[in-house]
């Protein structure tokens, strides 16, 4: 078993911890070019997500085995994440991250595990959803600038028969480069766009949180899959 619902649950929990740790940093980035609430809003939303997962049978123990039927469906887990974010984050990030997870949920619906191709397809659906919702193009200085290169990198690894772990790591590297590339960009979407040229020189907060999401996936799912690849238990 590789990339199971229990692994996905651990990824989401790791993302929550990462958001909590970087909350003030995200808010500072947002204060420079936006409205200084990205860290606070994402932190509130991810705490609600983890509380929701704790309340659902099968996801109760971080990293624990998924015993119930509901616990094995990655799609239903991701749907819970998406719906909770939509109802708790607010701002632009709520609908955008909500849409990301809801589209990923649809792509993973009924699946108890995802391989490299499965993840690549899920990411493609997720990023297409974010673009359709927010209507941002690459270069607009948004989360798309981290997500789109990550998605392409994952697809490239899957396309040449690489493992999911390799896909996640390639995605994280691409997302990191994508975030750095937002620094000189002039914002064309969201509140930062009102600053015009003055938005250049600042790293985009949405792209930064998107990078954290993928980086957590590389650490948790990349490792889980890598361990399975070496013949050790992935689903501990």
């Amino acid at each position: 078993m590789v990339g199971t619902a229990a692994d996905v649950s651990r990824w989401i929990r790791a993302f929550q911890a990462e958001i909590a740790e970087h909350r003030d940093r995200l808010t500072e980035l947002d204060a420079a070019i936006g409205d200084a609430d990205h860290g606070t809003n994402m932190d509130r939303g991810m705490r609600a997500v983890v509380a929701k997962l704790d309340g659902d049978v099968g996801y109760a123990v971080a990293g624990g085995a998924a015993n119930s039927a509901a616990g094995e469906d990655i799609g239903s887990l991701l749907k819970t994440v998406g719906m909770t974010l939509v109802s708790t984050v607010g701002g632009a990030s709520g609908p955008l991250y909500g849409t990301l997870f809801l589209r990923m949920a649809t792509a993973a619906s009924g699946r108890s595990e995802l391989d490299a191709e499965g993840w690549a397809a899920a990411w493609a659906a997720a990023v297409a959803g974010v673009q359709a919702r927010g209507k941002a193009e690459p270069g607009d200085k948004t989360m798309v600038d981290a997500l789109l290169p990550a998605c392409a990198a994952f697809a490239a690894v899957a396309g040449r028969g690489g493992s999911a772990a390799q896909g996640w790591h390639a995605a994280a590297v691409a997302a990191r480069a994508g975030v750095k590339a937002t620094v000189p960009m002039v914002a064309r979407k969201g509140r930062a766009s009102y600053l015009g040229e003055r938005s250049a020189g600042h790293q985009d907060p949405g792209a930064t949180s998107s990078y954290l999401l993928i980086e957590c996936g590389a650490e948790v799912l990349g490792a889980a899959v890598a361990r399975a690849g070496h013949g050790t238990a992935a689903n501990q």
Partner: protein, 333 residues
Amino acid sequence: MKKLINAPEDVVREELEGIALAHSDLVRVSLDPYMVVRVDAPVQGKVGLVSGGGSGHEPMHGGFVGVGMLDAACPGEIFTSPTPDQILAATKAVDGGAGVLHIVKNYTGDILNFEMGAELAREEGIEVEAVVIDDDVAVKDSLYTAGRRGVGATVLAEKLCGAAAEKGQALKEVADICRHADDFGRSMGMALTSCVTPSAGRATFELGDDEMEIGIGIHGEPGRERMKLAPAHEIVEILAGALVEDLPFRSGDDVLAFVNGLGGTPLIELYIVYRELHQFLAARGITITRNLIGSYITSLEMAGCSITLLKMDYDLTRLWDDPVKTAGLRWGA
């Protein structure tokens, strides 16, 4: 920074509890999810009007719920959009079978959340139309920004649409009036001091004692220009000049003049602004036929004002004069 609150995280909930206690004759308040709903909603056969946005702009929007104005308001956290589940719940609560109009200010978060809320409501079989208000001339409207922000014209649109819905006009007609108010309304604001969000506890932006920000947004977004503080008549010339040039308003036009305080400016100063505005417009052959003066769309404790001009005609004037009975706006009822 001093604030009259208990705890930053309780501000919105406690404000809503206060509204519920104060205005139970006008509204019902829900705390989960947050909404302020007209006490007799849904009114059968009447178009329902829903608006919403981040808190911190009071009395907008919760103070405009009642007879002749909104049927429901969805308050978000301070300066943070409401969420789709709130918007869905409010839409369901006010649907009297004639459809529901969403009045949305042009901010990315508001747009995205109202879009998702409308999609969810349509899936439940409710007819929903949305009109986006973007009247702030301070923002260059181009492909390279999120577009003009929704400010003062929102208050006027909510009043006019509320009157039309009360008269029994259909969803499409009420939506057309909303679009008309947006098309013929223009606003611009200026700040003397910054606002302070309760969670941040410090000024959103720095402004020197001898400076002002022209074209400020209602969340403290930067404006067109930072200038040395000037007398009221020069400030009005800058703001009104930009509005008149933008539409443009011409000699012979009748207008509704809305002088709005941003939260920290006393009425005595707003009347001085109105005096200057009256003289500025009169000199250009523009007649103020209706006015609204006071703090209706605020930015917490920000000192400063905004001016909104709406070109008036016979039908709009009738709608404006119709009775309204809300916590924030009340006449004829």
